[in-house]
Symmetry: none
Subunit: 223 residues, 2 copies
């Protein structure tokens, strides 16, 4: 069952979405404001968010920003559904981190197809444990252990480790790492990645050596 969080202040639209998604193996939870939506998100599993922009109280774009800046939620896909339909509105929404943007009035069937297209690619990342060669990452509570010992990582170190270990052996360029961990519009010097690799290796101790540099390209988890 796909869990859809709907944040939309018009009742008719909420009902329309709710009714139609219920026929598509979806469970919808609706709120007419973003504050409550955020609270729900904090306390429940959500697979995808449908977000209106013009809301009373906390605005849609603020909600988007909060969610995208929180590593706990940043993986949850968001589709904006809004009456704001200028080119700039759409670009802003996408650049702020939305995965798609539908302008009102919208086709419910297209919405469903888009939800499926997005989820097809992002099988909801549930709390799970990645465990390789003595290194354990519990993505549910953001903890890492090495040979059973807790290791305290900073946010960036954690995200970097996760990225590398999600695809062992795969080479990531410094720019790919920057995009994924720092965000696509960060203007950070690529050597910053090196610094974080260095401190990550140090914190991982003996095991840290699995992070190999690939000259002229980037890094990989050789594990």
């Amino acid at each position: 069952m796909i869990k859809v969080l709907v944040i939309e202040d018009h009742e008719e639209i909420r009902d329309l979405i709710s009714y139609n998604l219920s026929k598509e193996n979806c469970e919808t939870i609706c709120f007419d404001n973003a504050n409550e939506g955020l609270i729900h998100l904090e306390n429940n599993d959500v697979d995808i968010i449908l977000l209106d922009l013009m809301l009373p109280g906390l605005k849609g774009m603020q909600f988007l920003q909060i969610v995208r800046n929180n590593k706990k939620f940043s993986g949850v896909p968001i589709i904006i559904i809004s009456a704001k339909n200028t080119e700039q509105d759409i670009i802003n929404g996408l650049e702020m981190g939305a995965d798609d943007y539908l302008t009102k009035p919208f086709s419910i069937k297209i919405l469903i197809a888009k939800i499926n297209a997005i989820l097809r690619r992002n099988p909801a990342i549930k709390s799970k444990v990645i465990s390789i060669n003595g290194i354990n990452i519990d993505t549910g509570n953001y903890t890492v252990t090495v040979d059973g010992e807790d290791v305290s990582l900073t946010n960036k170190e954690y995200e970097l480790l996760l990225m590398l270990l999600k695809h062992p052996k795969r080479v990531f360029t410094r720019n790919q790492i920057l995009n994924a961990v720092w965000g696509y519009e960060s203007d950070v010097y690529t050597r910053t990645v090196d610094t974080h690799v260095s401190s990550l290796r140090k914190k991982l101790g003996d095991k840290g050596s699995f992070i190999k540099s690939v000259p002229k390209i980037g890094y990989r988890a050789d594990i």
Copy 2:
């Protein structure tokens, strides 16, 4: 550099996309038909595909189907850009495996924002493997194996091997190799190529002997 494959039969639209994406850290390769696009995809790294539907010869939807049914490519995101704008067209496109659907006329800025939104989620692009006579090159990961054994190559050695094996039997002059591997404006002595051929042969062991020198001309992969 993001590699964008554009399949679109209208020259003006190809040019528009090409010109604008070139300013966004993208390298576009365009074809006016899907057959050639497919051949390109088979032989090159592609990060994302922009696909028109109404094409001469192989139709866009057939192309989509072929790509999605091929494990090798199924990870490559596809955005359909089409004049077919009915609800059913869009739903079909998305259900067939497209990641997004833009109707013509479209905003180039929105296209760019959508490409970024999609790639933000999929940093890990499936890599292409070249495999000849026991030599395997994983072009996404910059790894090479010979008879299953990992062989560690430097960047120049890797690029050189890749160039030779992309076109087996074909002779490359030292200057062609310099241009392709070292870049047009490098002022390196042509004998440097020989040195790299030498160390490459050595690292490839017995298999290394497939790199034949062609007296007075250059080298080729005789394989």
